[in-house]
Symmetry: D2
Subunit: 389 residues, 4 copies
């Protein structure tokens, strides 16, 4: 019988719901060394937090995250709030000896991210673990892609082509939600979408981005102010407010390994709903992936006879594929939420082993430094900007 670990969840919107599903499910699908107990959910509005706790399956609710951090029943704090609060909560939780799972981007600034990475490293010395929630690493197709690269199946990597395309704010009447405000979100498409691309590109290639040249744009500079919101939905009034983040960010990049990268994150790609596309070309093969068809990986083996070769559509639903053995037979695909179940599974396994899970806060910092370089380059007429190591 597995031991239990008490979990405290801070934030209960989109990410809070996704993480809740993971905490409810992980031990039913996987053999994990610790069974999560859903101790407490925290949100600032008491009525909403109470309702969310009941709906999402948490035993209690709180309105002050400090009480979650201080709760003796809580061994792991899961941070699902906007980026402006990540650092404060995470530092307090680590200081209190609680393991921390923190949503991405790790923080809104490099300074915050550095403090978090330092604190995480110090905490790890005491056996306190932390992980940043780049959930897309846990898409089976992308985990499998990483294994192909690691095995050398792609040879020397020449190109990474990564695009994260959405369209939910194409309409200028869409309201000014928190994700469009720099003080809450840090940045726009760049931090929300581009952060995933940067982490994945570094994860898949095993090489870090060493420099960038960027442009960013805000196509719609004023939007109606939000009058009320609930979950993902928001109502708008007649008054307008300023959009203070980017609508789109594009950058070219070089990797330490010598590969070239092309990156684009936008919320203005009409018709693309959650198209996180990544293509990697190497001297021995290539990979292509689109999250809109998340159970498929396209792999070209360049070592085959050219007459026989082509991108093969691998349905990443075989028992031998990462995470898949815990679920259904081949061809019975998984969905978005499984990425979170896999994420907390890996965290629980790391806790059981006493090892540091990945991606670490240091990985999150590495992403943050790239995002920061992108913003600096964009502000400097696209000048080439080295990313500090």
């Amino acid at each position: 019988m597995a031991d239990e670990i008490g979990v405290g969840l801070v934030g209960y919107a989109f990410m809070g719901a996704a993480h809740s599903q993971a905490w409810r499910t992980v031990h039913h699908a996987f053999d994990v060394p610790l069974t999560p107990r859903r101790v407490v959910l925290c949100g600032r509005d008491a009525a909403a937090a109470e309702a969310a706790a009941a709906k999402l399956g948490w035993a209690a609710f709180e309105t002050d995250w400090r009480r979650v951090v201080d709760d003796d029943e809580v061994g792991l704090v899961d941070i699902c709030t906007p980026g402006d609060t990540h650092a404060e909560i995470a530092l307090a939780a680590l200081d209190a000896g609680k393991h921390v799972l923190c949503e991405k981007p790790l923080a809104n600034t490099v300074a915050e991210a550095e403090a978090m990475a330092d604190a995480a490293a110090a905490a790890a010395e005491r056996g306190v673990r932390s992980m940043v929630a780049f959930n897309y690493r846990r898409v089976p197709a992308l985990a499998f892609a990483r294994s192909l690269v690691a095995q050398g199946r792609l040879g020397v990597i020449r190109h990474v082509r990564a695009q994260y395309l959405q369209d939910w704010i194409v309409d200028p009447a869409f309201p000014l939600v928190w994700r469009l405000q720099k003080d809450k979100a840090g940045s726009g498409a760049l931090g929300d979408l581009g952060a995933h691309l940067v982490d994945l590109a570094q994860f898949l290639t095993g090489s870090r981005i060493s420099g960038v040249s960027a442009v960013t744009e805000t196509f719609v500079r004023e939007r109606p102010l939000v009058t009320s919101s609930s979950g993902l939905a928001a109502s708008a009034g007649a008054s307008l407010g300023e959009v203070t983040v980017d609508d789109a960010a594009l950058f070219t990049a070089r990797f330490a390994s010598g590969a070239l990268g092309s990156f684009e994150a936008t919320r203005f790609a009409a018709g693309r709903k959650n198209s996180m596309r990544i293509e990697v070309n190497g001297s021995a093969g290539s990979l292509a992936f689109d999250f809109e068809a998340m159970n498929e990986l396209h792999f070209h083996d360049h070592t085959l006879d050219p007459a026989d070769a082509g991108f093969r559509r691998i349905l990443v639903t075989e028992p031998a594929h990462p995470y898949v053995g815990a679920w259904w037979p081949p061809g019975h695909g998984l969905g978005y939420e499984h990425t979170f179940t896999h994420e907390v599974r890996d965290f629980l396994v790391a806790l059981g082993e006493g090892s540091d899970p990945a991606p670490s806060f240091a990985d999150g910092l590495r992403v943050q430094r790239v995002l920061d370089a992108v913003e600096r380059s964009a502000a400097a007429d696209s000048a080439w900007t080295v990313v500090p190591n």
Copy 2:
């Protein structure tokens, strides 16, 4: 606060695991009038049943399904056993006043299915509800497809083209599991896969299949006997046994509406893992779907200017699509298991409303009659065989 309903699950293999996930999840994703309580899981092997109950999240276990049916805590019996036991369990459960969810195909013979449909109709008079688990009706893309047809967007239906292609027994060394034995499974690809196609074709078109002409084949007639099995995995010995079901079944069909149908179910389509494909052509439009890309529906609107027209890939992940509003933002796809969550959601809603859920046992009987006609046609040199109404 929703009332509870106690659920008893009979069977704990592939379908038992899928249904368990649904019962654990439904009330966290949807507003349902009754919250399911997972009272008891039943299996013949005590140790395995106990382990399954613990793993899948059921409060207790039993080894005799009659005790589940008699359990006062159980208000709903969920039958996930092989088809040879469906009738006996379902009849007993309905007789005991328990609502019944029964896996497909409804039964192994028309006679059994008729008895079940009769019992279900009688039970419904007493407020006892039943449903056959054709889960693919609850794929959002297919529920949406039905709404397009019902709205007349396809005009007069001319063609249905339905194929369910798998490849898990291509290798002759694959062992003689229960699904390859007529006494357990009733039939092979026909009942396992073809049953889904028949139900979906009738569901999508709103018209029943009135006649068929069929061929069936068993490509590999002897296979190694199973020496031990666990979940989906089975070990094989050196002794061979006879395969007593079809490996593949093909049939042409006519619908009462005048449409033509082409059906194929096979476990010998190398490279197709769970390709349940269906295409519908009408005078005003067409639909195409493949479960291997379950979040997509391809729709051609034939009323458009031809220069502008083409199959459009609708990502069925919009809040306005069936079931989707309970889950994630557009483009964040769902997986196989969601079909079961949607299924029990609809059952619970029907219980709350005091209405009969669909597909009913009568719908299951309608499918059984088609399968029976297919087998009779195949045995009679493909002679056209009318399906009784």
Copy 3:
């Protein structure tokens, strides 16, 4: 310097234009032992034939095909007329010692096809060659598919799934052109489209269809009479006439090898323009093709590690692929008309070698026998109908 061969073309509509393009082009793309000279084009209407000869690049025109057959300058007669005239023209041409290329289906009846095959065999004894124009064998992707099957890359063939889907007569107001009249066309979708499927299925598998069970349907039984026509376009009046051919034909089949087949030809698949789709499943691999993407062949190698396997999209545009070396670099696709250029190339090569080109009139007869069995089965309530060898 290659010798010349004089070509006489009978018919100048769709097929006549396509063949003309081939005769104009073949020697510029390929090294052929004989350079075709476009001697004469024949059509019943003098003005139209004269215009067509000028436009399509023929030196002269005729209105009586017998004068083409008798023309000393003509060494090869290319028959592009409706099926009711094939036998008479071909027999006369072979009798006159002219090589014959004849459009498909070979004839409108088995009796005619038998006479043609007999005449062709007799002519071959005298060095006079004949070929039936199943042009789709010359799609590079399909020629390559055949080579994969012939090499054993698919193992034992289990399934052939072949569909030819068009939609040009979905609208009931579309006029009663010759292709909808049995006395001209022989049959409808069956002979026009299904003939291609039957030939391809037998070609790809290397096995003949031994029996069938069929249904056919005419959805729209009366259509406006044609008042005038030009090329592919036709004008319709107010009067209606009877459609005397099938709109759709579906059949199941068995191959001599033991494989099962599923066939469908229809002109009522809204949104499908020229979707000739064929999928072959074997014990060692599978193939899939759709003419709407004619430069692609999808191949699944079932001998690979399952985690690595999937249908690969082979762009059949490599120099090593059949016919491709004569054209453009990889990725620069070919079009429909190239199939005809490849066809006449192979005919000219056979003439140079003094060998019999394929598909022969005997192959055309084999197709005709299958089509005939389909019609007989459909007329006999889908009864299984053996195809004579």
Copy 4:
């Protein structure tokens, strides 16, 4: 009866063969005001030029392009040589009053391109016409895409995403052909592939690129020297030479209209053969195209009900689509070479009308200025570089 125009072709390799096919075919497919007569083909090697003239269907051959320009029979000079000779030949031809069709990129330098554009403008005053051969504008799908944009179907353009991916030099043993030498080719992937992207992006959007930030790379810096070559094939020896052009070029861009662009041209995308992909996102819709499936255009209409919307795969093979009416019925796709036939068709139509064909040398210059800005930006650490108007 159409008048004739004598054509002189300079160069007979890949482009010469493609243009020859067009000149042989155009009047048989289209009604053109002038029928091309293939007067003379020119190449430096007499034997090779003679053979090419015979094979490609030209009446005579020459070894000095000046004799072609001076030939009274020649009314139009078609330049298919490497870029280093374009300016000299074109200027001489225009000066001699010959219409000029010139392969892209227009020239190897901006200075040359300016001289050519000036000469073309002056010649146009005298009724002498010129055109640069950006053949991809004549892909029916792209010509149709332009019409959709021009009609406002995409609304305000926000993003252009353009990639031209090939893989023919992935292998370091591939020899140092002229396309890899700066003095012959001007640049590498940038001029060969990127030039097409730039022209298409400006063509499709109707807006010019106003600034860029770029990186370029040469992954393999030395390659075996060519010992002999024939057509597209080349043999290599043991000696190495320096690659003096880019293997890949990436740049971000801004359009005068306010749209953002992302561009990439590479010869190192293993598995991509001729993947010229372009995606355009606007406020009212989006387009996506890949030349590897050249008969398809994917169009998303963002004004539809979101539940109904998605990228539709338009088979651009309808009579109403640009150029298609001259060819085959719907669904019978065209190939690469048709783009050239369409190109010369449009040139002949312009000559008949006495109008200037597009793209003009001024359009070619506009592309050259973008390419030049790309190179300057890449040389200046990706600094934003304004493109002169």
